[in-house]
Structure formats: C-alpha cells, structure tokens
Symmetry: C2
Subunit: 157 residues, 2 copies
C-alpha cells in the first residue's frame, strides 16, 4: 500500500521543511509515502474564507484518483490515540491494496464537500495548529504509526 498526503500551501519555514523531509525519508524505509502539495491560491486576498476553501477543494479533488481511500484530517473528526491510528492504517494495509490518502487543508481547513466526500475523518487535536505545524504533526504520526506496525522501537523510547 502507498500512503499519500495531499496538503495545501507552501511551507515557508526552513526548519519545518527539514523536519518534514527527515520524517518522509525515515517513513519511506518502511512504506512508500508521497507528498502532494497544492500551491497557495493566487489573489486569495480578494476571496472570502469560503471561496478560498472551495477553490482549494477543487484543486484537491483534481488530485484524487479512483480506488483511493480518502481520510480527511479535520479537527472535528474522530480522535484516536497513536496506537489506534496505527491500527487504522494496519487494517487498511491488510484489507486493501488501494492508496491511503490523507488530506490536510490550508489555513482555513477543508471545505464541507471535501469532508463529506472523505470516507474517514480523523482529528489529531481539538486545538488549531498553524498549517506548517499541522503538516509536521501529520507526518510524525504517520511515521509513528508505521514504526508501531513494524515493531520498531520509536514509539516506546
């Protein structure tokens, strides 16, 4: 199974970029993981929040393919422990050969239509994080889940 993270917006912080790339490299030792970055919208200053979410959704929908399992990462989704999250991924690995796609919104989150379209909605926290830190958290949790599945000691150290 391949894991894909679709996310919106450029990461500006060099430090976050380095940290994300390091988790990406480490995760790829166990499981193919791919980032799809939707570029920031142009002229977003002239758009309302709902328009921004709608335009971003269209760009995200364009990246989705048939036969993918879609998981929206949304603060109102189901809250899982890291162990439960690893079990969720493990189950998908066992029962499916499809690509598992995690979608992470931009600064204003995901549109309702995208959340409704997603088969699963998972929340990492009730709190709001900057979208740069949200992306770092997402990849750290996916890496952590993959190490738990592979009995690697990362989670227990």
């Amino acid at each position: 199974m391949v894991i894909k993270i679709i996310c919106v917006g450029k990461i500006r912080s060099n430090e976050i970029k380095i940290l994300i790339n390091s988790y990406l490299k480490k995760t790829n030792r166990f499981c193919p993981l791919e980032f799809v970055e939707i570029p920031d919208l142009k002229n977003s200053k002239n758009l309302s929040i709902n328009q921004i979410k709608l335009e971003e959704s269209k760009l995200i929908f364009n990246k989705l393919k048939n036969n993918e399992i879609i998981v929206a990462l949304d603060e109102n989704g189901e809250q899982l422990s890291s162990i439960d999250f690893s079990n969720f991924i493990k189950k998908k690995m066992i029962t499916s050969t499809k690509t598992l796609v995690f979608i992470l919104g931009g600064a204003y989150g995901l549109s309702k239509s995208l959340k409704d379209f997603s088969t699963f909605k998972i929340s990492f926290s009730k709190m709001t994080f900057s979208h740069e830190i949200a992306r770092l958290i997402a990849i750290e949790q996916i890496f952590r889940a993959i190490t738990i599945i592979n009995n690697h000691p990362y989670h227990n150290k």
Copy 2:
C-alpha cells in the same frame, strides 16, 4: 502574570530549537514566558520507566514555588480548543497575579504524584508526540492563546 514551562530533557534537533526560540521571542512581546529545562537523567538506561518518571518528578518538584498555578500537560487531561485554552489563560490572568506553570514530562510522561499535585490537567491531543514536538506544540499553543487574548490576528489568518 508570568507563564513558565517546566520541561524535561534537552532538545537535540537544531530545527526544533530554532522554532521554539522564535515562538518564545514572539510570546515575550505580549507576556513574560520562561522555559525551565530539567536536564536528562544520567544513567537512565539502568532505571525502569517508573523510576525515571519518579526521578524526573523530584527534579520538577524542586523547581516549583509557592503561589504558582500548576497545570500538567498530560494526554489524559481535559481537551480544549485553542479558544478555550486562551480563555483558561485569560481567566488566570484576570483573577490571579500568580505564575502560571505548565509542566511537560519527558519521554515517558509525568508521574502520577505530579499529575495529582497539579491543579489542572490539560491534554493537547490523545496522540503521543515525541517530547521535542510536544514542546513545540505547547509553546505554539501558548503563543496562539496569548495572541487571541491580545486580539492579534495570528489565530485568524
């Protein structure tokens, strides 16, 4: 009011250090925020997890002073949204001149005695983060809370 974060263990990642220092600097523009770092235990390889938590607790207890409001950051604590978290801090600012202390455990979390001793227990997530990322999340949420209290646009952008 002064905010203090007591945390255990050195941060090894240079990138996380830079990010934390940047939030520390930005928060200090609004509110005095201080980090107290308890050094990693020596010879911890010879200790059980409970012994490590106990020894770390002793060192944390030594740093606590009278007249402080103690908040344990613990995954089983109360989950708040960022707005609720900012209201929690705001209320303490209005009703008290005491120092508000957030305690963040080491790799294995906080001891039961420290959690019992704390007046408040707050959880940022049901998930387990590396203690380096947990520290970054804590300071980002404190910065976010302070900007919300001060009507700074950080939370809404």
